[in-house]
Structure formats: structure tokens, C-alpha cells
């Protein structure tokens, strides 16, 4: 069914970001997307995002490099993408979306490519500009962010075979689902903690009584 070589799989992302409608359609219906490549994109985005925060010149950067923890940020990006995908999947499942979870995840990963491509050059560029030229830097970064956001929008629209309006509604609902998921996770972790402390105190009691 899918006979793409590894090289073809990697190069296919560039086809997707230049032809998003066809590209995402083929990911859904002709299995041309690759989950490992999407994961790689998320990892690369996490790294370039963190590098940008850490190494962009102080002329354009208002983040204290002392507080940048790259490992934490990469994990954070992964968690954010996975959570958003899960929330989107749980909403679209109920709203007649055609996309599978792996399609959503692939869309998210592939859409990050513009940011992966521009964040590092922008970081490099920031070392060679003065404060009144910061517009160039923010233009490059801003365009890539807007482009990525549009790609995500188109991707979700295409893999679920939605109209534009319905996509926007599902995205709003996705954020609501996201909040519910986070709430349930926190509730669960707090409950587990309580059970743990209960068992812990029972153990302490037994040990000290004996």
C-alpha cells in the first residue's frame, strides 16, 4: 500500500507545506504521512524553539537565559502537541470527523516545519541586528508562526473533511476539551496521591506499632 522510501517520506513534508490541501488529503487517504517523521518534527521544533529562547540576541529577546531549561521545554512541547491532538481527536470523533488520531498527530507535526525552518536562522540573524532593525527579526518569526497556524487549520479541516466554519468550531471545542482533560488528570493525580499517603500512613502506623 505505502511504498515510500525513507527519503521520499522526509521530502514529502516540503510538498505538504507548499500544497497543504493536496498534501494533507493524501496523508489521510493515501497513507503518505509518517508518524516517526511527525515526531521528529515535534522534536526539532522543541529544540529550535528552545535554542531561539536561549540564544537570540538580547536586543530582541526578553527571556532571561538563566531560566531556560531546554529539556523541560522540549518535553513541554511534546506534551502540548499530544494533549491538543488527543483533545481534537476526542471532539472530532463525536462530530463526524474522518481523521484518525495518527492523522491528527501527523498534521500537527508536519505543520511545525515552517517554524523549524525559520527559528534557527532568525536566531542567527538576531546577532547581527540593532534594536531599530528588530522589525526584520519579528517579521520572519511572525510569518512562520502564522504560516504554521494556517497549516494546522487547513490540515485539521482536510483530514476530517470539514467545512471552514466547522473547523473553527471544533478548534474552540478542542480547547474546552483540553481544559477538561487537564482537570481530570489533576484530579486523578491528586486522588492517587491521597491513596498513596493513606497507604504510606498505614505502613508507618504498622511499623511503629510493632
Amino acid at each position: 500500500m505505502n511504498t515510500m522510501s525513507r527519503k521520499e517520506k522526509l521530502l514529502y513534508i516540503f510538498y505538504v507545506i507548499t500544497h497543504p490541501f493536496d498534501g494533507f488529503y493524501e496523508i489521510r487517504h493515501r497513507n503518505r504521512g509518517s508518524l516517526p517523521v511527525a515526531m521528529l518534527m515535534i522534536l526539532l521544533f522543541g529544540l529550535s524553539f528552545s535554542m531561539n529562547r536561549r540564544y537570540a540576541s538580547f536586543v530582541v529577546n526578553s527571556i532571561n537565559p538563566m531560566y531556560v531549561d531546554s529539556r523541560q521545554e522540549v518535553i513541554g512541547i511534546f506534551v502540548a502537541v499530544l494533549l491538543f491532538s488527543a483533545a481534537n481527536w476526542s471532539i472530532t470523533c463525536l462530530m463526524g470527523g474522518e481523521g484518525r488520531f495518527r492523522d491528527i498527530l501527523t498534521v500537527m507535526g508536519y505543520s511545525l516545519l515552517p517554524m523549524v525552518l525559520t527559528f534557527l536562522p532568525a536566531t542567527l540573524l538576531s546577532q547581527f541586528i540593532a534594536s531599530d532593525e528588530e522589525g526584520i527579526y519579528f517579521l520572519i518569526v511572525g510569518i512562520s508562526i502564522v504560516y504554521s497556524a494556517l497549516l494546522m487549520l487547513v490540515g485539521i479541516m482536510v483530514v476530517h473533511n470539514y467545512s471552514f466554519g466547522k473547523t473553527l468550531i471544533t478548534i474552540v471545542l478542542t480547547f474546552a476539551a483540553l481544559i477538561i482533560i487537564i482537570f481530570i488528570i489533576m484530579l486523578l493525580s491528586s486522588l492517587v496521591q491521597q491513596v498513596y499517603y493513606f497507604l504510606d500512613s498505614v505502613y508507618t502506623e504498622l511499623v511503629l506499632r510493632a
Binding site: 538580547f58 536586543v59 532571561n64 538563566m66 547581527f128 540593532a130 534594536s131 531599530d132
Partner: protein, 516 residues
């Protein structure tokens, strides 16, 4: 260093101890002497690191608005109670003033008198009455005092509802009371709390419960208007809720009234420095021009891009030592430097003319050099004087080498002499390598000298985006100018090569056509 001296002392002591003529008593004496020497070196060492035996911490905020601790800028010096001065205990004193001839005046509010100290801080005279139309008149809760360059004493005689001006020998010059104007209410209660006088004998007074601003009087004592009115600000959130609340709700909610001024001082150029309460911790310090407009400079070169002049940027919420700084009084110390005192945490904040924080020190407590309820701040030579109303003490703080270097460097920069300030800034950096203003100072002077690369390095360390960018642009232009010749040569050679190739090709083709 310390350890070295101790071991030397021990070595020297050793042969003496083993000597034959050694008796038990001398051994004890010697041991005590060694102990004393050790103690002395230890404590002398501690004193060298000024700040270790100071009852408060000295700190500052960096570009990231993080607190960092610095060496002590000022350390406690002598404290004077009324008894020390030989005038009996002070009672709730509210104001202190250092005249141009360095004589110190204290408004001993609760005892209804004014104390004058000689420049060496010994009691000169006590003023508790004056002759008013040949009858003796006294003060009632005098809580503000100001002395002009001509040694005329202006006293805010609060509960007598007047400002009294006395000459140097205590004779009455004038009384300002019961001001009349169409902008004042008929039942207006004139209770001046603080007073200041400018070089043209115009009088400025902070009046209790008067929220329109500082009251101004001309040299004859006539009310001329308000200065520095603080506008009320209502944010969008409050506006939104007021829109939906009923009239009864609106009346019962808190009113939006401007904050009151707390203290004032006048610079030699006639600009008024005044402090006010700001619960939003944005601006508690104002510099008013003769028109009464606030013209103070704020320092925006920090990560939030927001200039705040209100003491601490961070504070905890709660009951004790919590909430925004409440700035009580201000002193203009010359060369653009001014210090303010905060009554919440007892801290003294010192700023330069651009609104940069220079050093923060002071604290609450019962130790020497800490406050219970600071009421007024003044400066005398290189000393800072703080009057504590609850402890009824006048405390003095003396500049350390660190504080003195900063003061002198800032003064030189204020005069525009950045080049001579560099040597001082370098010494400051030896004591405190985090002091960003010093890096900026050095960087700017390198920039002026045309050493752009060095300027870039220092301005980056000082986190000054604006001047770093200037230095960087000049550096970039230099490199481009130096290498432009090579670049242009290479480009023009490439262009010529392409053209030549085209011509050759065309000629060749023509040759081929001929051949056919």
C-alpha cells in the same frame, strides 16, 4: 588573609611559650593576647567586608528585575536621641532639615518645639516660642520644617493652621494662614503638614486632607494655586463594573480619590521633588516643574520596558512588612541623585536623574540603624539622616567606599564627564561585578572614544539595548567600509566574467553560422 595572620601570630608565640623563664601567669597573659590578636584580625577582616555586621541587607534590581545583593552602600553611624543632645526626649518628631550651612533642624512635633543643632550635631538652640505682635506665641504640633539659604525658618505649624516664617534669630517674618481663593471651599481647614521654599521665597505646602495637590504661595504669602495635581485613574475593569452597578452600589463602593502627597524637597534649580502614596507601586516620586507638571525621568531599560519609581518592584501580600512600599519623604542630594524612605519595610531607595536605582538599604527593627516608623530623610555631606518618629531618634548613615564611588561616578556622569567617571566605575565593578550602570558608563565612554567593539562588550554586559545598538551599527559600518573594496572588486570581476563569456559565446555561434 585572615588565616595567614593567625598562623604567623602562633609561630611567633611558640618560642616564647617554650622558653625557660616562662611562668604560668605570663603563659595565660600571652594566650589571652594571642586570642585578642586573633579576634582583632577576625573582626577587622569582617569590617573590611562592609556589610557583614550591618543590620540590614543592601540590594538592587538588575535588568531582569531580579534582586541581587550588593556590598553595603551606607552603614549606620551615630544615632541621636533627644537625651543625647541634652534636650530631653523627643516626642513623635515628624521632620528634619539640613540647612545650607549644615545646621540641622528637627521639628519635635509632640513637644511643640524646634531643635537646632550645630553642624557638629550638638544642640544649638531650642525654639519653642516667638514674639507675635509683642506677645509670646507658641507652636502646636509643628510637623514640617524648611530653612532657606538666608536661614529663614519656615515651620508648618499644623494644629495652629498656619505656616510660620522666622528669621535666624527667631524674630517673626510672616505668618501664612487661612488662605482665600475661589478654588478653595469656604470651610476649608488649612492644616499644613510639610513645607518647602524655593529660591524666590515662594512657599509650597502639603496640606492634610487636601488632595488637589501641593499648595503654592507667593513671596507675600498669597495662595496662587495647586502644583502637581495627581489624576485619578480608573481602569477598564472598574469602569465595566461601575456601568452595571446600581446607584446605591456605586455609592457604597470605595471612592476614587487622588492620593495624597507625603513629603517634599526643593532642588536648587527650583524643581520640587515630592512623594506620594501609590498602592499600584507605579509612581511614588514626582519632579514638578514651575508649571506644576511632573517631569521626572523613568528608567525604561529593563525587561518589562516599564519605568517604575515606587520603591520595591516585588513585595509579598499579607500583614507584616507586606504590600507596596509607602514612600514617606524625599531628599534631593545634588547631582541629580535623590533618596526616598519607605515606611513599610524601612528601606531607603536612591535614584539618579535618569530614574536608575543606585542602591537600596535599610530595614525595620530595634537594632542600631533600623527603624520603627521613619518620618523624614535628609542628607548632610556624605551622610544620610533619617528621623524615626516612634524611636524618637535621628539616625545617621555614612557612605562606604562602595556607596561613595557610586555617588561620585553618578555625579561625574550628571556633569557629562563620562570619561573621568570610567576610573570610578571600574572600582565599583571590583566591589560589585553585577552593577549594570557601571558597565553602561564604561561602554558609553568607549563609544565616545570610537572603540566600538569594546563599547559593544560593556554595553551588552550592562544590558543597554539602545546604546549597544548604536555601538553595533558603528562596528558593522566599519567592517563593511573596510571590506567594501574587496567585495565590490569581486562582484565587478564576476560581472565582467559573465559578460565576456556571453560575448565569446555569441562570437563562437556567429563563427559556427559562417561555417554553415
Amino acid at each position: 588573609m585572615k588565616r595567614k595572620i593567625i598562623s604567623q601570630a602562633a609561630k611567633k608565640a611558640k618560642p616564647a611559650l617554650t622558653g625557660p623563664a616562662m611562668t604560668g601567669l605570663t603563659a595565660v597573659k600571652l594566650a589571652a593576647a594571642i586570642l585578642a590578636a586573633v579576634m582583632y584580625t577576625v573582626f577587622a577582616g569582617a569590617a573590611a567586608f562592609a556589610g557583614e555586621n550591618v543590620p540590614y541587607q543592601t540590594y538592587n534590581y538588575d535588568y531582569w528585575r531580579d534582586v541581587y545583593y550588593t556590598p553595603a552602600a551606607y552603614i549606620p553611624d551615630v544615632s541621636y536621641t533627644g537625651r543625647d543632645l541634652g534636650a530631653g526626649n523627643l516626642l513623635n518628631p515628624q521632620d528634619v532639615f539640613v540647612a545650607e550651612d549644615n545646621r540641622v533642624y528637627i521639628a519635635d512635633t509632640g513637644n511643640n518645639r524646634i531643635l537646632r543643632l550645630k553642624p557638629d550635631m550638638t544642640l544649638d538652640i531650642i525654639i519653642d516660642s516667638f514674639l507675635n505682635n509683642d506677645t509670646a506665641d507658641t507652636f502646636k504640633m509643628p510637623s514640617g520644617i524648611y530653612v532657606t539659604g538666608k536661614n529663614e525658618i519656615y515651620i508648618a505649624d499644623t494644629d495652629n493652621r498656619r505656616i510660620v516664617a522666622l528669621s535666624e534669630d527667631g524674630a517673626l517674618i510672616k505668618i501664612i494662614s487661612n488662605p482665600k481663593s475661589e478654588v478653595l471651599e469656604d470651610d476649608f481647614d488649612f492644616r499644613p503638614a510639610k513645607v518647602a521654599v524655593d529660591y524666590a521665597d515662594r512657599v509650597y505646602a502639603i496640606v492634610k486632607d487636601k488632595i488637589q495637590g501641593i499648595m503654592c504661595f507667593d513671596e507675600a504669602g498669597n495662595f496662587t494655586g495647586f502644583s502637581g495635581t495627581i489624576n485619578v485613574s480608573i481602569n477598564t475593569y472598574e469602569k465595566f463594573w461601575r456601568r452595571f452597578s446600581t446607584k446605591a452600589q456605586r455609592e457604597s463602593s470605595a471612592q476614587f480619590i487622588p492620593t495624597e502627597f507625603t513629603g517634599l524637597d526643593i532642588a536648587p534649580d527650583g524643581f520640587i521633588y515630592a512623594t506620594n502614596v501609590d498602592t499600584d507601586a507605579n509612581q511614588s516620586i514626582r519632579r514638578l516643574n514651575p508649571k506644576g507638571e511632573d517631569v521626572i525621568k523613568k528608567d525604561n531599560s529593563n525587561v518589562s520596558q516599564k519605568g517604575q519609581l515606587s520603591g520595591d518592584f516585588y513585595y509579598r501580600q499579607g500583614t507584616e512588612y507586606a504590600g507596596p512600599s509607602r514612600i514617606q519623604d524625599i531628599v534631593y542630594r545634588g547631582d541629580g541623585i535623590y533618596s526616598v524612605i519607605d515606611t513599610v519595610r524601612g528601606r531607603i531607595f536612591t535614584y539618579d536623574h535618569e530614574g536608575n536605582l543606585l542602591y537600596i538599604f535599610g530595614g525595620m527593627g530595634t537594632q542600631k540603624g533600623t527603624f520603627k516608623l521613619p518620618a523624614a530623610i535628609e542628607a548632610k555631606d556624605d551622610k544620610i539622616l533619617v528621623l524615626d518618629s516612634l524611636r524618637a531618634e535621628l539616625m545617621t548613615f555614612v557612605a562606604t567606599r562602595y556607596g561613595d564611588l557610586i555617588n561620585r561616578a553618578v555625579a561625574l556622569r550628571y556633569d557629562g564627564d563620562e570619561a573621568s567617571a570610567v576610573a570610578l566605575w571600574e572600582q565599583v565593578l571590583e566591589l560589585d561585578a553585577n552593577f549594570e550602570l557601571a558597565y553602561v558608563g564604561i561602554g558609553k565612554s568607549y563609544l565616545a572614544a570610537g572603540e566600538n567593539k569594546k563599547a559593544m562588550k560593556y554595553l551588552k554586559l550592562g544590558m543597554d539595548r539602545e546604546y549597544y545598538s548604536i555601538a553595533f551599527k558603528r562596528y558593522r559600518d566599519d567592517i563593511l567600509k573596510k571590506n567594501l573594496g574587496y567585495v565590490l572588486t569581486a562582484v565587478s570581476l564576476a560581472v565582467i566574467a559573465v559578460i565576456v563569456r556571453k560575448i565569446v559565446k555569441r562570437l563562437k555561434r556567429r563563427g559556427d553560422e559562417y561555417d554553415e
